[in-house]
């Protein structure tokens, strides 16, 4: 018997728990040659802002042991160009598209949520709160529970679509962040975004990245991500999307055991562009081989 891989997150019905992570899969088209979108659960767009963003100067990426740092600086085409140039492609795709977005003020967040809410091709919203709050002296929304509460509340009021909040791991207490977002009306939580890190070019005595610091992703962060997913899953009654260093089906299943309902594949798509599809297929194979009929039976099934 074919195992059942379908899961539902915040009202989104996914054919399987494998999504692609924001910023690592373009706007969906780029990987068409390597991933049949109809074989994965959903995909998440590059982070969108109200106006186009130039992003940071280069170098923007650097490899680190078992991971990579990126300081793209949230370069994106902006919501208008997104609607004009990228949304038409979504019409042809039979897989839920989730729009990732961010602002520098609460109003920007709310305005984006409103605009995205109006796009029928968008199945759900993912709020990236790992951005500095320009009005509050640059403190990152996602590192302060109150800030996070406010921003999520504003987005919640602006959309009736499924609202996923993406948490930053650069915090002392991920559970209090998760609770604040839950209280503000989030439908689901995705975690983790990147850990802040830095790389140095010894010969040039300079940071490698033009932006000095960047976000760490890839296999190196997996233990931290798994721990946070596990902590949040036990404390908060919302579906969780596990993210961080997932390279293969086994990694994905570990996140599900830890309490995730779905997962996102990020850096892995760079190394193996077909990664998301292979992970979905690998999960099905593992379930079949291990006599698990329904992937939902594994969610949070860790004996700990």
């Amino acid at each position: 018997m074919k195992p059942d891989l379908s899961v539902s997150i915040a009202g989104l019905e996914l054919r399987n728990p494998v999504m692609t992570a924001s910023g690592t899969f373009g706007y969906g088209e780029e990987f068409a040659e390597y991933v049949d979108l109809a074989t994965i659960g959903a995909f998440v767009t590059k982070g969108l802002s109200l106006r186009p963003r130039a992003g940071n100067p280069t170098p923007r990426i650097v490899e680190t042991p078992g991971g990579m740092l990126n300081a793209i600086g949230l370069q994106n085409v902006g919501i208008d160009a997104f609607i004009e140039k990228k949304v038409p492609f979504l019409r042809s795709v039979a897989t839920p598209a989730i729009a990732n977005f961010f602002g520098n003020t609460i109003d920007e967040y709310a305005e984006l949520a409103r605009r995205l809410d109006a796009i029928p091709e968008i199945a759900g919203l993912e709020v990236n709160i790992s951005c500095p709050n320009v009005k509050q002296g640059g403190i990152v929304f996602g590192t302060d529970p109150q800030c996070a509460f406010q921003v999520v509340t504003a987005c919640r009021e602006a959309t009736i679509k499924p609202l996923i909040v993406k948490l930053s791991p650069n915090v002392t207490d991920i559970v209090s962040m998760a609770k604040a977002c839950a209280d503000a009306g989030a439908d689901a939580l995705s975690l983790i975004n990147t850990l802040t890190g830095m790389a140095i070019d010894l010969e040039r005595r300079r940071p490698v990245l033009a932006n000095i610091t960047g976000g760490l992703s890839g296999p190196a962060v997996k233990p931290v991500a798994l721990r946070m997913v596990w902590q949040v899953a036990r404390a908060v009654n919302l579906p969780i999307i596990g993210i961080g260093g997932i390279m293969n089906a086994r990694d994905a299943l570990e996140f599900i055991l830890a309490g995730a309902t779905a997962v996102q594949v990020g850096t892995a798509s760079f190394i193996n562009p077909g990664a998301a599809q292979e992970i979905a297929e690998g999960m099905e194979k593992w379930l079949a081989e291990n006599g698990v009929e329904d992937v939902k039976s594994l969610i949070g099934a860790l004996e700990a």
């Binding site: 780029e30 280069t58 490899e63 990126n70 370069q75």
Partner: protein
């Protein structure tokens, strides 16, 4: 295209520079000059990311024995600079590599007959051989190649064998002229009649100089760039380079991997 490639040969052609021939799928020889591949050095996570390399040559090997299947191949010319290239140089024939490509946009060959000028610096020569192979079919081709020492001047014989006229300059004078290759280039541009077309690949400083020389003289010039890459297919936005009119207010970043690596020099922003 993503494929498993078997190494056919991997030879050090000059101290620190290696040339690798490897099997390719049958469609691969249609790669355009200037396109590149992303190579996964091994299956482990160290190094994690793929490494980008120009396509030095493509072809089909037809075995001497009748009946044996002919084998399409690709070649890379690479310099050992760090971990990934170090590991590549330790591989042997029959070892396997995971390859993505051909990727990106290659060179526009231009009209037949007009003089073609290729400028290469060091390992920047890598994507220019396949280009020269195409160009000699339709035009006279001159190669201006520079390097720090004679060891950094690669594969001249191969270019000469194509019928390309080669000018060599080294910074220490150990081969050819002593100095920068751009000096010889300027002399040639003064001497040549009609508008030639320039194709360049090499260190950024050299490209900057060549782009300036071409712009001053209104000569069409294409350059092949490098950039730190994660995906090689326009998704990560790691590899970008500013377009001519780029500013923070009117952002115009181009992806080296998907919009390039070959660009019309006039499209890009250069240092004055």
């Amino acid at each position: 295209m993503q494929f498993k490639s078997m190494i056919i040969s991997n030879v050090e052609v000059s101290p620190g520079y290696w040339r690798m021939r490897m099997t390719a799928p049958s469609e691969f020889p249609a790669a355009q000059p200037g396109q590149f591949v992303m190579v996964r050095v091994n299956d482990a996570i160290d190094p994690l990311l793929r490494r980008p390399f120009g396509i030095f040559d493509v072809g089909v090997h037809t075995p001497a024995q009748t009946g044996a299947a002919s084998q399409p191949y690709l070649e890379m010319l690479y310099r050992v600079v760090g971990k990934g290239t170090g590991m590549l140089s330790a591989l042997h024939d029959t070892d396997l590599l995971d390859v993505l490509g051909p990727l990106g946009k290659g060179f526009q060959l231009g009209a037949p007959g007009e003089e073609k000028i290729i400028v290469g610096g060091g390992v920047g020569l890598a994507p220019l051989y396949l280009l020269a192979k195409e160009l000699v079919k339709q035009s006279p081709v001159r190669l201006f190649v520079g390097g720090r020492t004679r060891d950094d001047v690669l594969c001249i014989t191969e270019f000469e064998r194509l019928g390309v006229e080669c000018y060599v300059a080294t910074e220490d004078g150990s081969l050819g002229e002593c100095g920068l290759v751009t000096e010889a280039l300027i002399r040639r541009l003064a001497a040549c009649d009609g508008t030639p077309r320039i194709f360049a690949c090499g260190p950024h400083g050299m490209l900057n100089a060549v782009a300036g020389i071409a712009a001053q003289r209104n000569i069409p010039c294409q350059v092949s760039l490098e950039g730190y890459m994660a995906c090689g297919m326009g998704a990560c936005l790691g590899c970008v380079t500013p377009g001519h009119h780029h500013s923070n207010e009117t952002p115009d970043y181009r992806c080296v991997c998907a919009d390039g690596p070959v660009f019309d020099a006039a499209e890009l922003k250069w240092e004055a």
